[in-house]
Symmetry: C2
Subunit: 524 residues, 2 copies
Amino acid sequence: MREESVTRRRFLQSVGATGGAGALFATMGALGLAPAHATAPDFRAPQRSDFHLTGRAARKVVILGGGIAGLAAAYELGKAGYDCTILEARAVTGGRNFTVRGGTTHTDLDGHTQKAGYSPGTYLNAGPARIAQWMVTLDYCRELGVPIQPFVNTNADALIYNEATGTPVRFRTAKADVYGYVSELLAKATDQGALDGRITAEDKARLLSFLEGFGAIGSAHQYTGTSRRGFTSYPGAGDDAGTPLPGPAALSDVFASNVGRYFTFEFGYDQAMMMFQPVGGMDRIAAALTTAVGGHRVRLGAEVLDVTGRAGDVTVTYQRGGRVHTLVADFCVATLPPHLMARIPHNLGADVTAALGAFPAAASGKIGLEYRSRWWETDLRIYGGITETDMDLAHVWYPSHDFHARRGLIVGYYNTGAAARAYGVLTPDERTARAVAQGVKIHGEKYRTELAAAFSIAWHRTPYLEGAWTSPPWTSASYRLLLQPAGRVYFAGDWLSHEVAWQHGAFVSARAAVTALHQRVLAT
Amino acid sequence: MREESVTRRRFLQSVGATGGAGALFATMGALGLAPAHATAPDFRAPQRSDFHLTGRAARKVVILGGGIAGLAAAYELGKAGYDCTILEARAVTGGRNFTVRGGTTHTDLDGHTQKAGYSPGTYLNAGPARIAQWMVTLDYCRELGVPIQPFVNTNADALIYNEATGTPVRFRTAKADVYGYVSELLAKATDQGALDGRITAEDKARLLSFLEGFGAIGSAHQYTGTSRRGFTSYPGAGDDAGTPLPGPAALSDVFASNVGRYFTFEFGYDQAMMMFQPVGGMDRIAAALTTAVGGHRVRLGAEVLDVTGRAGDVTVTYQRGGRVHTLVADFCVATLPPHLMARIPHNLGADVTAALGAFPAAASGKIGLEYRSRWWETDLRIYGGITETDMDLAHVWYPSHDFHARRGLIVGYYNTGAAARAYGVLTPDERTARAVAQGVKIHGEKYRTELAAAFSIAWHRTPYLEGAWTSPPWTSASYRLLLQPAGRVYFAGDWLSHEVAWQHGAFVSARAAVTALHQRVLAT
């Protein structure tokens, strides 16, 4: 890209198309790997050399919001020498990328103040907590030197708990029984000619071969249990072939238990294992971005009061430490949650305000329960993963790191909508009591007696966020309007992407805004 | 157990029954958790206080073989003060628990010598490489302070490669298609009355509800693809909803590809995720056991020549450093591979020799390919896991640790039987060339050009082991004979358990031998 002969047009065409992924994809296609290949959208960061080519200078940019989108925008613009300033209302960068440790304090909109009493090394990823392999978030971890480790999103030994039955069952057992009976039904129907005329005899033979293995139904096409269900006592020495779990239950009981509704989560393109987390807390990403951007470029505790765009610049007024400040920049990248941005006075037009108001904010809550012992590992042999329930705590997460350590943190609820609001209206102590009472039903009294500390968050009641995520009106004029700059103000955030509630969405949206802004600077 | 009133009879009854697991199980049962509970067989290690109770003294024990069974026997007996000596013919303890690092040298029975050229930090677990959550191996990791980390045994983004088609497909894609078509077939058969009379109307409704989610077939009961298959380009910013993979292929093609045969591996009670590995190499377990036993109790390079049992002791003759030594002990625990033990002269009876000879040794091989870059992470977005093939390399393992590091090690083949023998007869360089040529078909030329170093093992051609594992004749008189001591000689090893080829089997067998030996010492 340093060749003098590169014209501006050719250069602009190449922006966003010369990244490694594009070149790679061509290679992979030739190998027949294209169908199996996966890539994040193409992106080429602005570079200092871009300005050498055009004779233009980098500009000054004010960024509203120091969450992942704002940090990523500043980071990528900074590579080309843009002079960025981030205004962040909270006391830390990261936004919903928020990791709670011992000593973290938090006051919600209802005036409840918590100070986390976690031990050193214990933390709760209160916001995003997992990263899929294809997500660009991992590229930032690699680029920024943030070490990663597996996040256990699926574990065959985690439990399914239906309050009506009151007896937890392991995923491995539930899956074996459901797959067994489903295979039996289809195999028998096939044997009796139900698929005749629909598929060929060869297909039928292959289907039956698959079902015999998949359901462990053997050539008799009858499900009578399988070692996949697990054991009361696992195989041992000498003549000890193990004690299989009693069962299986009858087909009707297995279907009635409705355990199968939890199986598909692990098939999701965004949730299938392997998943990852940064070592030491999700906020290691925000911290690394902040360091890369430069702490002096970030103004914490800065609450935006007004945004005024003009032909040649943008003026942002904000208050910080009780004083009002004004900042004039060439451009603005606004990454605040849309429903909050809609409330901030500006001169960008009523249509912009209306569009920002078209993004509904979702409720969600999480609690982190620190335990004095890792009884789920020693007693239940559950090393990470998620137990699913039909109670309003929804999920219980076992920790994916520090296996065999003395202490550990369980996510005692992670819920949304009505369940999140039901927990959110409670005081922090009441939330803990409710979560523990529900958890005792699954895990027994240790869930109460071993508890050391708790910290909960209700994102919809959290200042400067007031929501966990949004459901963007993707097909609306409102959504499309905000994909364009309002004069010199660009919008970015996971809410302007197709990966809402994922950091990937914030990153790719920031990249899109940065690309558009940079192309404009170079072209005009 | 320190109460003076404990009688010997009561004490002996309590051996093996007072462990934490037993007490726990009773508690869990009361909570209705018993069916979901899993535990290793009960075990209570001998303790110094046992002898205080009986007035007896600990004895001298010679242990043949410093693999996991031998080390575990010495470790557990050592807790009660037994004076143990381990005789190990190889240059390191661990047996098949063997981790290859830069500088590791290995000469096989065919005279091929390799010296591993791996970089610092790179290693190959040439033998056991994964641990299931329920396995007692994890208890030893916890007790010995060996840190563990997840082993990626299943990854939705790993590949399935059939040589006939020549195009790898990701597990997530293959699963989505097979589950989709299977669900469609059963749902349509159900709709058309094929299950009438077999299950109730309520069951049918529940089955259909399950299938609609499981197969992503919707209420039309037609599989037309799903985002679970994955994307060519994943969803991004603004209007970029991602580019789904082309497909799905027709039902007949999906069944013909036979990808479904690989799905059940992850259901196995011994292979289902989560799985674990020690941080830094599987030999950290052997090293920790060796340290706990005491290095002075381990004689490396000691080849057993003869075992002679008498009424009051056992004499073992061995050669070490060109000299012949004799060791007399109260008891012997023989943990050598049975087919090798059968060759050692002894006076334990012809029936013992015959029984030892009834265990066939299996062939298996593995190669560790170190790469200069982690192209499988950056290019293919595969972070750990196993690619399955129908070539004789069988499996390709991507590393489960040091994600995003500069280099990494791929297991380029892990095969058994004829495939292992086919690789085993080659020179190490020929094995590498063959494995790489096969791997290039799946991964492209980087599989060759990025290769930095290789090391391979053929367990069936490895001195003092001559096999990867055995298929014990569990129901035979031979097997039962060796579960009893031959005079003062006890046998132990994974080959005397129902978890052959797993360290769990070696541990529980050692525990059984130790328990029997200790009870005898206390009782006589």
